[in-house]
C-alpha cells in the first residue's frame, strides 16, 4: 500500500473544500444545474436512475483493512448497507445524498482515499494487475508506477478537459489480468537485457460502441521517461481528438482514423520535444513512492504446509476451494486467495457492509493488511500463509464469500444496467442472475470449466461484453428489453473482440441461448480444450446453427 504524505493529503483536502463550497452553492441555488454538473462529475458524483451515485477510486485496486472498513462504514451510515465493485477497480455507492457528499469525501480522505476523476472527460482511475506484488510471473510490482501516474494525472492543468474519458492500465506480467489492450493507454512493464526496465505501450484500445484492440506504438519506453511519453500521447490526443461527436471522441477513434503508425509518429515528435526537459526527478520520485509502499514482511516458510495438506485430505469442500480460489504466490509458503462476489444468483460485484468488515478483518489478520479489487468485480487477499488458509476459508464462509466459481460460467461480469444506470437500454443483473442459476449445479459448472460471460446493459460496454468468451448486450427494441449474443472475445493477453451471432433474444431466450452455446461447446470440444479454444477452432457456424437453425 502506498502511504499518503502531507502533500497527497493536502491535494485531497483542498479538493474537498472546493467541492463542499460548490455543493453548498448548488444547494442554495447559486450554481445552476449545468455549472454544478461539471463540478460533480469531476468529483465522481453521478445522478443515476434512482439517486446520486458516488464512484470511489481504488487506485490499482489496492486497499488496506482500514480503507475497507471505512467503505463499509460509508455503506452503512450514508448509503443502504452495500457497495458495488466495478470493472475498473472502483466501488460505487448507489444511494448517497448530495447534502452528505462532502462528508463522505471527508470520511474517504481520512483513510487516504478519494473520488477525484472517477467521472468526466479526464484521466480516470489507474488500474493495475490485482496480483501485483504477489505473483511470481511479474517483472516487478507495477503499482509504484501506477501511483506515479495517478499523481501526475490528478488535477492535471492541461488534461482535465479532454475530448472524452481516458483510461490507463498497467501490468508487469505476460499473463494479462488487466485487459491492458482494451485501454486508452495500456502499459506492460518488461525487462530488456541491454536497455533495462521499460514499458511496452499500447494505445487506442477500448470497448464501447466501436471496440478496438490497442495498437502497440512503442516496444520500449525507459521507466524514467514514461511520464514524458504519456504526456506526449495526451497532448496529441487533447489537440487532435474529435470534439464534434461524443461517440467518436475517444482516442481509439483518432488512432483508428489516422492509423496507429501516423499517430505513433506524432507522439514521437512531441516526445522528442519534451525529453530534453526531463530531469532525474521522476526517477527520484519513483524511488520515494516505492519506499512509501509497505512491502509485506514475508516470513521464511517451507512451501508445503502439512496442516494444509491434512485439512485438504479431510475436507473435500476445503480442498475444492483451495484448488479453485488459490493461486501461486511468489513467496514459498504463501498463496493468493481469490474471493468471489458472484455467488449463484447474487448481484455481481455487490457486497454488504458486514461482509466488507469481515473481509477487512481477514485481510488484516492474514493477508498483511491488504485486500485487492479486481476488474472482474471480485476481491483478492493477496498474501495469505498456506498454514492460515483453512482459517481464512472458514472466515470467508462465515461472510458468505467462499464461493468456488472463479473463472467459471457463473463468475459473470455484469454492469448495473437498467436497474440503476440512466444510460441503460436493458437490465443486465437479472440476466446474470438467471444464467448463474443455470450453472448452480456444480458438476455441470465444473464440466464446462473456464468460461467468461460478460453482460452490458447498453452499447457503452461497461460490462465488457466484447471481451467475453460469451458476450451479451442489452438493447431496447420498441420499449422491450432484448439481448444480443456475441462469441469469442477475450480480455486477456490474446485480446479479441467477440462477434455477434445474429438476431437477438428476449430475457428468457438469452438465458436459453447461453445454455445452447455451452451445449455446442461440450459436444465439440477436444480433450482439455476450453470454450475459447474450441470456438477459435470450430468457428461460429455450429453455434449459429444451433441457435437459429440451418435455414
Amino acid at each position: 500500500m502506498y502511504l499518503y504524505d502531507e502533500y497527497d493529503k493536502s491535494v485531497v483536502r483542498q479538493r474537498i473544500a472546493d467541492f463542499r463550497d460548490a455543493t453548498e452553492r448548488r444547494l442554495s441555488g447559486v450554481l445552476s444545474e449545468e455549472e454544478f454538473k461539471l463540478v460533480r462529475q469531476m468529483n465522481g458524483v453521478y445522478l443515476q436512475l434512482h439517486a446520486y451515485m458516488l464512484r470511489v477510486a481504488i487506485p490499482y485496486g489496492s486497499l488496506n483493512s482500514r480503507q475497507l472498513h471505512r467503505l463499509a462504514h460509508i455503506a452503512r451510515v450514508y448509503d443502504k448497507g452495500y457497495g458495488h465493485f466495478t470493472t475498473r477497480q472502483n466501488i460505487q455507492f448507489n444511494w448517497p445524498q448530495l447534502q452528505q457528499m462532502p462528508d463522505i469525501l471527508e470520511e474517504l480522505a481520512g483513510v487516504d482515499m478519494h473520488a477525484i476523476q472517477t467521472s468526466g472527460n479526464v484521466i480516470r482511475n489507474i488500474t493495475a494487475d490485482h496480483f501485483a506484488g504477489a505473483t511470481a510471473d511479474e517483472v516487478d510490482d507495477p503499482r509504484p508506477i501506477a501511483e506515479l501516474i495517478r499523481q501526475w494525472s490528478t488535477l492535471h492543468p492541461e488534461f482535465s478537459f479532454l475530448p472524452r474519458k481516458f483510461k490507463i492500465a498497467v501490468t508487469a506480467s505476460a499473463k494479462d489480468r488487466t485487459a491492458v489492450k482494451f485501454h486508452d493507454i495500456g502499459l506492460v512493464l518488461h525487462e530488456d537485457q541491454t536497455s533495462g526496465r521499460g514499458f511496452k505501450v499500447y494505445v487506442g484500445g477500448g470497448l464501447g460502441r466501436t471496440p478496438f484492440v490497442g495498437h502497440k506504438i512503442r516496444e520500449f519506453v525507459p521507466e524514467a521517461q514514461l511520464l514524458a511519453y504519456i504526456e506526449a500521447i495526451l497532448r496529441t490526443y487533447n489537440e487532435l481528438g474529435r470534439r464534434d461527436n461524443a461517440f467518436k471522441a475517444r482516442i481509439k477513434i483518432l488512432v483508428h482514423e489516422m492509423g496507429a503508425d501516423a499517430f505513433g509518429e506524432l507522439v514521437e515528435q512531441e516526445f522528442s520535444r519534451i525529453q530534453p526537459m526531463v530531469d532525474d526527478l521522476p526517477t527520484k520520485e519513483l524511488e520515494r513512492i516505492r519506499q512509501r509502499f509497505i512491502t509485506p514482511d514475508f516470513a521464511d516458510l517451507s512451501d508445503t504446509d502439512l496442516g494444509l495438506e491434512r485439512a485438504k485430505a479431510e475436507d473435500p469442500e476445503f480442498k475444492r476451494w483451495v484448488s479453485r480460489n488459490c493461486s501461486t504466490h511468489k513467496i514459498p509458503g504463501y498463496a493468493i486467495v481469490g474471493v468471489s462476489l458472484k455467488d449463484h444468483g447474487a448481484i455481481p460485484g455487490d457486497i454488504t457492509a458486514e461482509a466488507m468488515d469481515q473481509l477487512a478483518e481477514l485481510g488484516k489478520l492474514y493477508s498483511h493488511d491488504e485486500i485487492r479489487a479486481t476488474h472482474e468485480q471480485n476481491l483478492v487477499l493477496p498474501h495469505v500463509k498456506k498454514r492460515d488458509l483453512y482459517v481464512v476459508w472458514r472466515g470467508l464462509q462465515a461472510a458468505g464469500l467462499a464461493t468456488t466459481n472463479l473463472g467459471q460460467a457463473s463468475d459473470i461480469i455484469s454492469c448495473p444496467g437498467l436497474d440503476y444506470c440512466v444510460l441503460a437500454n436493458a437490465r443486465s443483473i437479472p440476466i446474470a442472475q438467471a444464467i448463474a442459476q443455470r450453472f448452480a449445479d456444480r458438476k455441470r459448472e465444473d464440466l464446462v470449466g473456464a468460461l467468461k460471460i460478460r453482460i452490458s446493459g447498453c452499447i457503452n460496454a461497461c460490462g465488457h461484453h466484447h471481451a467475453g468468451h460469451i458476450g451479451i448486450l442489452g438493447v431496447d427494441r420498441k420499449g422491450e428489453e432484448m439481448y444480443q449474443l456475441s462469441l469469442g472475445g477475450s480480455g486477456a493477453e490474446d485480446a479479441a473482440i467477440s462477434q455477434s451471432t445474429g438476431r437477438g433474444f428476449d430475457a428468457d431466450g438469452i438465458v436459453d441461448a447461453v445454455d445452447t452455446v455451452v451445449g455446442i461447446y461440450l459436444d465439440h470440444r477436444h480433450e482439455g480444450e476450453n470454450f475459447l479454444e474450441a470456438y477459435r477452432r470450430i468457428g461460429p457456424q455450429p453455434f449459429k446453427e444451433a441457435l437459429y437453425g440451418t435455414a
Binding site: Q48, H50, A51, Y52, D419, Y420
Partner: protein, 117 residues
Amino acid sequence: MSNLKPQPSQIVTANEIGTGAVVFMTAEGTWTFDVTAACLSETAAESEAMLALAQTSNNRSEVELVCLIAAQRLPDGRPWPVHPREVIRALGPTVRHDLGYQADIKNTSRTLTDVSL
C-alpha cells in the same frame, strides 16, 4: 424517455436536488415520490404548461433533470409510466425490492411484477 416533446398523456418527473430521489409533479405543482399521484396531461398544451411550471422549481434549485415522460391511465384513473425504464425509476431496482420507493410504500396498487417489463 427524457427530453420528450410535449404531447398528450404525459407526466413530469425530476430528481430532488438534495437527495437525488425520483419525484413526480402533482396538479398543484408540488413534488411527490408516488408516481400515481402525479398530474397526467390530457393535451400537449397541458404538458407544456406543466413543464413550464416544473422549470420554475428547477430555477429555484429544488429539482434537477426535469422532463416529461409518457404515461397511461390505470383503470382506477391514476397515472402509470409507459416505458419499463420509467417504471423502474418510479419504484426502484427490480433486483432489490427492499430498495427505492417500492420499499417505502405498501399502498401502491401495482408493483413491478404486475407490469410486464
